[in-house]
């Protein structure tokens, strides 16, 4: 007699007692995720503070030129004051879901203690936050949410030499051009030549990186291409053929900041134009004085 019928009925019967309490499991999971985030944030905060202190000391006290691109003084916001964070753009951090229209201070992925300059954008109707990025939320005819494209801001510390292998990270070097060159040279995507650009009054380089339509990521780590990471465990990655990352790599007050608009072939030209328009309207604010 074939064993298959017994396998089907026996396996079902032997697992019927597994009735997880989903409410309990979900709340346990979210508590764990929250705890891990707090631990990471504390660690990254200490690291960021140390890096900032080192940069200040090296560039100020010792007079060493770090070779970083300088912001355009004519277009840069005025220096930060010590005014407490009471007014100005609404912090997007911690918000997940549909946003009311208005100015929002974006998360800088990789800046654990929110101390570094950050980007503010004007969110129009239909905006959505993924707690890390801003998304255009188009709606279907039935009013169901369809999230399209994403705008995010990053500190990118390391890039992969082979995006198919997530363990091939290297330090690209400190300057805007170092990062643009390293990303453009990665196999697995086509790249435009890095071109000079100004965003939010700060100079940098603009580059577009496209995953080819015939890309096959089945043999890659986590079945995706991993391009870079910040110093907390967030990764610039994609597994979608045809996905395009539009990068504005800027030097803002000694910090290399990357604005990324990611879209996929499913995104319409309107969505792409909207996201790029929002990215191009970026202003740079100081967390200590968001109105600066």
């Amino acid at each position: 007699m074939s064993i298959e019928p017994r396998l089907r009925t026996g396996l079902t019967a032997n697992t019927e007692h597994l009735q997880p309490n989903l409410d309990h499991e979900l709340s346990t999971l979210l508590r764990r995720a929250h705890r891990r985030l707090k631990v990471r944030t504390a660690a990254v905060g200490l690291l960021a503070a140390a890096v900032v202190a080192a940069v200040v000391w090296l560039s100020g006290a010792s007079g060493v030129d770090l070779g970083l691109d300088r912001p355009d003084p004519a277009k840069s916001p005025p220096p930060a004051s010590s005014t407490p964070f009471t007014k100005g753009p609404i912090p997007i951090a911690g918000r997940v879901g549909t946003l009311d229209p208005g100015p929002y201070a974006m998360i800088m992925i990789g800046d654990g203690d929110d101390s570094l300059p950050r980007a503010a954008v004007d969110v129009p109707e239909g905006g959505y936050s993924t707690n890390g990025g801003y998304v255009i939320d188009t709606r279907t005819a039935k009013g169901e949410p369809v999230q399209r494209g994403i705008l995010s801001f990053w500190l990118v510390d390391e890039v992969t030499t082979d995006p198919c292998k997530a363990d091939s990270y290297v330090d690209p070097g400190p300057s805007v051009r170092d990062l643009a060159t390293a990303l453009a040279a990665q196999p697995g995507r086509t790249a435009t030549d890095p071109a000079p650009v100004t965003l939010g009054g700060h100079r940098g380089l603009y580059v577009e990186l496209t995953v080819p339509e015939d890309s096959d990521v089945r043999g890659c780590t986590d079945r995706q291409l991993t391009f870079g990471r910040s110093n907390d465990p967030y990764y610039l990655a994609s597994s979608i053929p045809g996905a395009v990352d539009r990068l504005w790599i800027l030097q803002v007050r000694g910090i290399r900041m990357v604005a990324v608009v990611t879209t996929t072939p499913d995104d319409t030209q309107d969505t792409i134009a909207d996201l790029v328009g929002i990215a191009e309207s970026t202003t740079i604010i100081n967390p200590a004085n968001p109105q600066s």
């Binding site: 396998l7 989903l22 999971l29 995720a33 992925i109 465990p233 597994s239």
Partner: protein, 160 residues
């Protein structure tokens, strides 16, 4: 797509598969929770995962297989779960027979016969070729048939 929706719709079946690989409810819950934790962290970050259900299932299966292999090395002479818990299963003979299979075969059997997934999807989840999956299933069926026949003979012998 909401994380909570993916969690609620996928967690039970991922837990079942992990349980059939590990034969230990506590460890299966641990592996499943860990896989969803990884998904949750990525979900609220920036990374887009095209098929979160498949992704989390793959992470859990990979981890369960790894743990099953390790526990086989550590506890090769003992049952993976307390005998009292085994005895409460409706088809305890099948459970014991399945626990004798290699972890990869258990995973293939769970995905194919319990989850009713087609061979190519099982191959994708296990990151092996379809012919390897067919081989796993063929060997698992043959081994299970032998083991269950032996158990049947033992029972018959006891009755006689």
């Amino acid at each position: 797509m909401e994380f909570e929706w993916v969690f609620r719709s996928t967690y039970p079946s991922v837990l079942r598969t992990a349980y059939l690989i590990l034969h230990d409810r506590g460890r299966a819950e641990e592996v499943t929770q860990d896989a969803f934790l990884r998904l949750c962290e990525r979900w609220h970050g920036i990374i887009r995962i095209d098929h979160p259900e498949a992704w989390v299932r793959k992470v859990a299966i990979r981890s369960a297989i790894r743990q099953a292999k390790l526990s086989r090395l550590r506890f090769s002479s003992s049952s993976p779960e307390e005998p009292t818990a085994w005895d409460r299963l409706p088809d305890v003979d099948l459970a014991r027979a399945i626990s004798a299979l290699p972890a990869q075969q258990r995973a293939a059997v769970a995905l194919f016969y319990l989850e009713d997934r087609p061979v190519d999807e099982v191959a994708s989840l296990l990151e092996v070729s379809t012919s390897t999956v067919k081989q796993h299933l063929h060997r698992a069926r043959a081994r299970l048939a032998d083991l269950l026949a032996e158990q049947q003979e033992e029972v018959s012998g006891d009755v006689d």
